[in-house]
Amino acid sequence: MTFFQRSKVVVSCLAALSGLTHLGAQAQTEIQWWHSMLAVNGEWVNDLAKNFNASQKEYKVVPVFKGSYDESMTAAVAAFRAGNAPHILQVFEVGTATMMASKGVIVPVGKVMQDAGFKFDPAVYVPAVAGYYTSPKGEMLSYPFNSSTTVFYFNKDAFKAAGISTDKPPATWPEVALAAAKLKANGHKCPLTVAWQGWTQLESFSTWHNTELATQGNGMRGMNARMVVNSPLHVRHIENLGNMAKQGLFVYKGRGNVPEATFVSGECAMITTSSGFYGNVAKNAKFAYGLSTLPYYPDVPGAPQNTVIGGASLWVMSGKKADEYKGVATFFNYLSNAEVQSASHKRTGYLPITLAAFKLTEASGFYKQNPGTDTAVNQMIRKTTDKSRGIRLGNYVQIRAIEDEELEQVWAGKKSAKEALDSIVTRGNEQLERFEKANTSKN
């Protein structure tokens, strides 16, 4: 073989190789997935992608951490404007209306699944979870990924010290107030605190009592919803909490999930917050603790109904290739698998999104081994009503901030409950009107 011939062989071999690798790259379609899951939950997301990628050869899901929920949404907005949005974007529940209203930005998950040939049966999903992300026409818009709901945690050791029974934790607000008084009499400085005050004390409180927070089924039926959170029931509850604050029975510990630290440290004996807080408590609390349902007022007809979810869902962005959408659908189909769902539920404490996954988890004896972990699920797997299906408000981020601002005025004793709630209604409605105006002009 002459040198020339040899090099020719080498060249053709190289060409064949590069062709092969090229083919390989083409065969595997990459799906970009932007998410906001940190630490333990970040590992969970990576594992999901890894397992899915190992389960088949055609698609490769690439999870990318893009900062907190609002940061990743801002990043997606910028990317979309520049024409390189990801395929899948994880968006928190308060961003739902914004995503829905931005026409041409997203492709409904229902359509993605159908186009890819997967049969899509909304009935297999937990109603209060899937309903939250379903359009008025019954089409699933985004894929419910990590959903939590509002529950009640209490410190069993503190209860015992104050002589309160731990077998039957306080289920109603009068019972909570009574327990708080006993704790205080026993020298406890912070009997009760609440995290995510707008979500737990106004939003979930409303659906739990089958009462509207806003008209149009809390905005689920249309953008012309208006706030009605100053009803006598709401006023009564906030007034009660305001009075408890004055007596030192309820201690305000800040916005968002900031107050959670005071429960884990043992400073506060009771807290209403997300079911997703469970992992933290289980890992860090140095005392016996219990989980129970969100307190309610027993004299309200229809209560308790169901609590409302928080957390995030996965949205499919528009403008991608058909093949890529097929990959997204295959991935969602994988996520819906009862075993995958159940494993995720056990691992993270987020709600299962299908009924089958709940039954599978129950059958595995997980709830018996970890008492209280089924609280959140039991609050959710009821048949929802028009008033309790979910909450979908435009400019929700601003409305949450308004709820925080006004409630703080009540806890500080600067405003009465009625004044603050009236103000939430007026200021909230300004936001809703503006959102409606900005988003209906083009329809």
């Binding site: 510990k253 630290a261 981020v397 601003q398 703080e408 988003n439």
Partner: protein, 279 residues
């Protein structure tokens, strides 16, 4: 030609964004910009109708003047003493300059940790002495918290300039005054302070701009504008509406307002305060 790079940098990084803000302030669009609508001055109109926005002017005025006055006052004091220190100058100066390297959000978090009602070291001590510190519900405490964080962060910058200013004053002047029997206090007020006035004036402008534009990170980390809206200064609202709530039109309108205010303030400072400055 030689200043062309400089000019282009200013155009790209200052004038172009400012122009963009102006344009966006006249538009209303959804978050993703799929529908952009010209709305004229509607965004501005809405601002003036919003009572809480008008209140935030007052909050901003209080905050900015506290930050500027305290920041300049304290750092002048520190610079004066650091200038007189004979031994260990380097150590003092380095320590005083350090905070400038800290990002605003981190400064907010540091001070939040010190003063958090549940876990803060300082708030624990205050409570032990019978002072009920609660920045979560008491707006004065919350304001004090962000002012402290903002001032602490800016002191280094001011300190550097004052120190340089003090050191550029000829020693012979001060020594001559000392020979004539003027005490340190007297010397400071009659010689050093007047000679520092260009520095002080420059720092006044810089500090006001800092308080107006650069402090949203501190507010976001320490109070989120609460309790109520009592620490929601203008720039925090711009940040919140734009980057958290994705209301770009409203946010742009606010930043235009802010821009106008700062330009006006700077003009006023140059017009009136500068006259009192001796060069």
């Amino acid at each position: 030609m030689l200043i062309a790079p400089q000019v282009s940098v200013i155009c790209i990084f200052f004038f172009w964004p400012a122009l963009q803000a102006l344009l966006q302030s006249l538009q209303q669009s959804d978050a993703f910009g799929t529908s952009v609508e010209w709305v004229g001055f509607a965004n501005f109109q809405r601002l003036w109708q919003d009572a809480s926005y008008l209140e935030s002017f007052q909050t901003t005025a209080v905050f900015s003047s506290l930050v500027a006055v305290l920041g300049i006052g304290i750092s002048l004091c520190l610079a004066y003493f650091a200038d007189r220190v004979v031994r260990g100058t380097v150590v003092y100066r380095t320590l005083l300059i350090w905070p400038y390297a800290v990002a605003p959000a981190v400064a907010g978090v540091v001070w939040l940790f010190l003063f958090s009602p549940s876990i803060g070291v300082v708030s624990y001590a205050l409570n032990q002495w019978g002072f009920e510190w609660n920045a979560l519900l008491n707006s004065r405490h919350a304001m004090a918290l962000i002012v402290m964080a903002a001032v602490w962060k800016q002191i280094s910058y001011n300190f550097l300039f004052f120190l340089a200013g003090l050191q550029s004053i000829p020693k012979s002047l001060i020594e001559a005054a000392a020979m004539d029997g003027a005490g340190p206090w007297h010397r400071f007020w009659t010689i050093q302070f007047p000679l520092l006035s260009p520095t002080s004036f420059f720092l006044l402008v810089i500090n006001v701009v800092y308080a107006f534009f650069d402090t949203f990170g501190i507010v976001d980390a320490a109070t989120k504008g609460g309790p109520g809206k009592d620490t929601a200064i203008l720039v925090y609202k711009v940040y919140f509406d734009g980057f958290k709530a994705l209301d770009l039109g409203g946010s742009a309108a606010q930043s235009v307002v802010l821009m106008v205010i700062v330009v006006a303030l700077t003009v006023v400072q140059f017009r009136f305060v500068e006259k009192k400055v001796n060069y």
